[in-house]
Symmetry: C2
Subunit: 338 residues, 2 copies
């Protein structure tokens, strides 16, 4: 299995990306194709005593920055960037999956317009898997589509269920519709219509889910528009950071508290790891016809390594064939009703 | 100052409501007018050794439940409920503010249609004040209006600024627009247009704010539609509950950890209190022409007591006159532009 990695995406590129890719090769036994300015990659690796033995490099001199407009990913002017080149290599079958920590909007656009969608899929979506109080949950979409229709949310429910089942291993994943209350009539027209549609969709729909119940494990797949999902994910991250920061403050306040910290050190470390979004690496781009994974913009080597591990599971689970199949069944059912 | 209290709102009514109201009278020196079935109130108080000395009661035999449709608050059939009666008493000047832990939607509707809006205000809004890593922030709206226009969000920014200044004591409150990125062009049409409008509004607009920065103290007033605000507030609550639950699990895991817990007990208690949404009591209904406060549905005596304290500050700060004044200035400015 070969994972294509954008060496020039994210705040810590290229050093942390190269490190993470090399670590993933060694740990997970995957082949790596690094994309970016070859000379710079070799120099950074040499300067940091990183061996590139067994790592392939595809030269792409340009860099797609966060200030570039996402839609520019398709333009000729940006074709030589590591991000656009990575997408092209994935499309041409030069690797099995593509990882980048670069411009989020451009990763959405590249998935949608260069690699293209799975047949029948209306929109691609960011679908991060986050820790909950007793497991993991996916929030789909969490950033690409601010404006959606019920049929789009229905597809998110299906794609999310397939991923949580095949990649995360949850049997019959519970699908919840993110809403401002649990009763069927709650929310705006989009939510009310989607509720009805999900009742007649072959997923394990458990009804509306409020923001409060996302971290409390109220559903395995939380379905929402990208604006709402982004708010859930980012608020989650901020509250976790704020609380962990406060606890750190308590544990370093004075000698007595430092002793307490020493006593629970191992458990607190395990807890922090459990809550660490870096452990989750970023988000798959669901609906794309080949596996694309967006790592956090501030990804470090660990984040990239984890992202590559998730890509490996994503490729192995062959969820794209399953989603393709599910989509054709849904469109048949729609045809049958019409 | 007299606070009208709905004795039959919320999961723990009437006992906890009566308790909290009596505690508030004793602690803050406010007069209380309890609304609800008088006989029941007197019996519950007697059964629990609560003295109702100095507490006024207005008999209203009906109860407005969470299953009742919010718009029914205006109907004749519901006129004898404690909730509808409380609104009517407030409107008629029988008290200075009204507190209820009852049906959220009905509290919004009662504020809007029975007590009525401040002149010039387009919509009333829930505007809870929540703890941040280094202070407090308001999220306005957090549940009433799922569908808004830029001019409505502009008013939320103004009302929120006045409240945070006059009630919470923040000088020149920073106003942030909840969005999926910080750059001006981010988000949907609503966000983009509101951004431009807020740049020309007499508030301290600091730009877009992502969910991540709400708990990290990125703004004092977070402006959003009610769907988004509800997601932020509820996710915040859920993550806090999940994390505090995990920490409790660590501290009770074994003897060693219990010793650690004992060492940091005082600091952890202070931290829990700081993060406790019950300390914040619920939310003011901003834009209403008289002070209305919605306490959490699961409010206990402490929540109600705190809600009454907030009401006292709300009445004392006389923010309604200030908001009325600000609204007339905005509409003059709009008139000038037209």
């Amino acid at each position: 299995m070969k994972i294509i990695v954008d060496a020039f995406g994210g705040d810590n590129a290229p050093l942390e990306i190269i490190k993470g890719a090399v670590d993933a090769k060694n740990e997970y036994g995957v082949d790596i194709l690094l994309v970016g300015a070859e000379e710079t990659i070799r120099k950074v690796a040499a300067d940091n005593q990183i061996s590139l033995d067994g790592i392939a490099i595809h030269h792409a001199p340009g860099v797609f920055t966060n200030n570039d407009s996402p839609s520019a990913i398709r333009t000729k002017a940006m074709a030589d960037t590591s991000l656009a080149t990575g997408f092209r290599l994935l499309k041409e079958g030069e690797g099995d999956a593509f990882v980048s920590a670069g411009n989020s909007g451009a990763i959405g656009a590249g998935s949608m317009f260069i690699v293209k969608r799975i047949k029948g899929v209306k929109r691609v979506a960011f679908a991060p898997v986050i820790p909950t109080v007793s497991g993991k949950a996916m929030v789909i979409d969490s950033g690409i589509n601010t404006d959606v229709r019920p049929a789009v949310l229905q597809q998110f429910a299906i794609m999310g269920s397939v991923y949580m089942n095949k990649v995360i291993g949850i049997k019959d994943p519970r699908v919840g519709l993110a809403n401002v209350g649990t009763e069927e009539h709650k929310g705006d027209e989009l939510r009310q219509e989607t509720y009805k549609l999900l009742q007649n969709t072959p997923v394990n729909f458990v009804g509306n889910i409020e923001g409060r119940d996302v971290p409390l494990d109220g559903a395995d797949v939380v379905v929402c528009d990208g604006f709402t999902g982004n708010m859930i994910i980012k608020t989650y991250e901020g509250v976790a950071l704020a609380l962990l920061g406060k606890i750190k403050g308590i544990f370093t306040k004075n000698l007595k508290n430092k002793i307490a910290a020493a006593l629970v050190l191992g458990d607190m470390k395990a807890f922090k790891k459990e809550m660490d979004l870096d452990e989750f690496g970023g988000t798959a781009v669901l609906g794309c016809s080949k596996p694309v994974f967006k790592a956090h913009g501030n990804a470090n080597a660990k984040t990239i390594k984890n992202a590559i591990r998730v890509c490996k599971d994503y490729v192995s689970a062959d969820i794209i064939a399953t989603v393709t199949d599910a989509m054709s069944k849904i469109s048949e059912a729609e045809g049958g009703e019409a």
